[in-house]
Point group: C4
Chain length 249, copies 4
């Protein structure tokens, strides 16, 4: 299952990466497992800090088990720089194609975030119920793999499918994947992790609000825009807590 570039030659490395950043990526994987966004599946990646055309993610492994030694470097077509026989995630193309399409994105999370799945298979649009999920003022589009590839195993197993998903994502922070899960992106690992967690929390709150019934007073687009782009909250406060717990303090 190891991929190689069309030329059969492994791509060059983008250079060494600060171990503290690798630890952030390891922490991200473990945090998302601890918070119930990931279970035995799903993955998180970061763009190479000094090479725009490379990204970093774990070899194929349950997120709670990832360590720094498991992190691999890939080019944006998801060819490994130095595979050393390690198995890669079959859906790594999600990450490569989003990094290619979105120069602003520095981190990508793909999950089967449980409370979010129902919104991908019904006609109910996700909307922000509270300020922590203000970024959802850009309503997540839903990727329908059937439109691109007919009957499949639902997985994003090549660059063509990855590009189609990136196209649905567009300039949004979140896209749902029908019958599968979602992708969340951000300008840093902490922000992508924060958004993945509060997308899950918001899905629970919105489901409850819909059950209570009657009109729902969602955040307005103006409020979401201010929270997301003009006066962002303090992501670091939660990140420091999550990271300390994930790495055992």
């Amino acid at each position: 299952m190891a991929a190689t570039s069309p030329s059969g030659v492994a791509p060059r490395s983008g250079g060494t990466v600060d171990p503290a950043l690798i630890d952030d990526l390891v922490a991200a994987s473990r945090i998302l497992a601890a918070e119930g966004v990931l279970d035995g599946y799903g993955h998180v990646s970061m763009r190479h800090p000094t090479a725009q055309d490379r990204y970093l993610m774990s070899r194929s492994l349950a997120p709670a088990l990832v360590t720094a030694d498991d992190i691999m470097e890939l080019d944006l077509d998801s060819n490994p720089v130095d595979a050393r026989g390690r198995t890669m995630f079959r859906e790594r193309f999600i990450h490569g194609m989003i990094f290619k399409a979105r120069p602003d994105v520095m981190a990508v999370v793909h999950s089967h975030s449980p409370a979010v799945i129902p919104f991908g298979i019904t006609a109910v649009a996700m909307k922000p119920t509270f300020h922590m999920a203000g970024f959802l003022y850009q309503e997540p589009p839903v990727f329908e793999i059937r439109d691109v590839a007919g009957w499949t195993n639902m997985l994003i197993t090549d660059n063509r499918l990855g590009a189609a998903l990136a196209n649905t994502l567009g300039q949004n922070p979140v896209a749902l994947m029908r019958g599968h899960g979602n992708v969340v992106v951000g300008p840093s690992i902490p922000i992508a992790v924060f958004r993945a967690i509060y997308t899950e929390v918001n899905a629970r709150l919105q489901t409850t609000a819909l059950m209570l019934g009657g009109p729902i007073n969602y955040l307005s687009p103006e409020e979401g825009d201010i929270i997301t782009n003009k006066e962002p909250g303090d992501v670091g406060r939660a990140w420091n807590l999550w990271r300390a717990k994930a790495l055992g303090k």
Copy 2:
């Protein structure tokens, strides 16, 4: 409560079993308890790896407490090879009769998986909401013990009831038991455990989707078939995580 064969002679052993396989069975029991599929009740079994007409399961014990020493060998009529005074599960006949009816099945889980119970007592059919539960494209039939035995204590306490349940199961991976629980089968312990866990998860997701309302875009039978039979996912990734946690790494 110890059973003997009609002849009063204990059946012969199918031979010694690799301790690593026994550990898999012990891990399965503990994993299903840790994941909330089993509580103090329910059980998991495996077919003997070298004797098609024998199977292995714990003596009567809460699943979280099972160790290798608790594993017993039984024939397909659920007579013990070597009881040594150990109490057996009253519902072991579920396992024996399914192994008899389904040569393809190598592992059986019986649980009171909580999110699944409501689907066995309403007219709502379980359907796959996401690819992890693609195997549910074969909609679980519902076993109604009243049709077979009238008023009972709901338990499968003999081979006649076990055979009736196996008959309802048919060629499906999952059957619900009205007012009781469900059975899940697979071609290996990891796959049966995986299916039991994602049957529970899918029940939660389907319940939420139904509460959101409107038409639900379930996986199609074609998608479920591809996922289950043609391009199966990587069960090992989750299994390695679950097993490590269950056996204390």
Copy 3:
């Protein structure tokens, strides 16, 4: 707040109790806290094993903190045999009056079991969704303190209120208390604990089944009767697990 008998003389002790039985009562308190039936409030009691007119329960203390040293002996009017300045539960009269009215009862649980509360404040009757809650074939009556005492703080703070609650309970295993919680009784500590836990579980399952909609196929009274009175399940299997966890193995 310490009570004395009308004569001002403390009642005599019913005699020493086997420490293993005291440990069962301590375990019961901790089990019910661990399983989410009790939080910082609620209590469990047992009838004195050799004196029908005495019972045992903890001094006023959060259930998770109870130890053998906290167990007190009371008469059925809830006067303490040997208070030694210890504060008693204000609602101990629930226990005394039920033990007085129900000679068959050997253990009483009073809780604010969260999933059950909604059934006490709506017109929806609790019914058994699965065999583990078969004892609910006797539908729990609802105690309305307003009918007895008008506007109150909702608590059963004297023997008159305790007797009224025992009267509502009648011969049932469970009674709901409107806007407050419930009481569960049994012929032994393990059975009362088992019933308290599965009353909570059943409330969750019934709520989910009702949300799925359509007619619900509850256990029939005949099935509930067989499970409860004629062919009871193996309470010991779960009890051994719960007790081991609660007492630290």
Copy 4:
């Protein structure tokens, strides 16, 4: 972000505080995190025990990480007595303005308590479902920041907004904040913590009761008044449990 008084001079200290009280405040922060009322965000404060015009709260930090060294003293305009470069919560003005408006209040909790959020964005009023939440007989008003400040980032970032929120709170124990969270106040730290926890629990119970359907038999105002003001329950029993767990016994 460090605030100073208009004069540029730091306010004087109200005097030293008993370390056991500081420990109560630290415990409160950790308890509310452990009970799921707070996550990485939200905060709890206490009025200075001997200076009515000062209050104490943590520097900006995730609630689960707070220690005694993190506690700062502020005046009621939320200027720090001794900042020493420490970052303060951006929403500390919630606390200062409530302490100013409500001389009876000794502790304030601000949270994003998840089950409560939906009640702030629908037309469903919170009402007490059981005696533990009897204080909700005073139905929580909903603060709408749009009415005061139009489009914002939803945060209470100055004294004008803090005063508006305090005005909505009025003489109630709880106020909801639309699309944001809630505030809970009390005459002591244990009572404010108790109310914050049971506001969350009550939200869950009320949501479930509404899903069961039909008329709901809430506590009457008379019952709520008796529980809250005339015959209060034993807050200390739960507080002792929570505090012991939060501070590691």
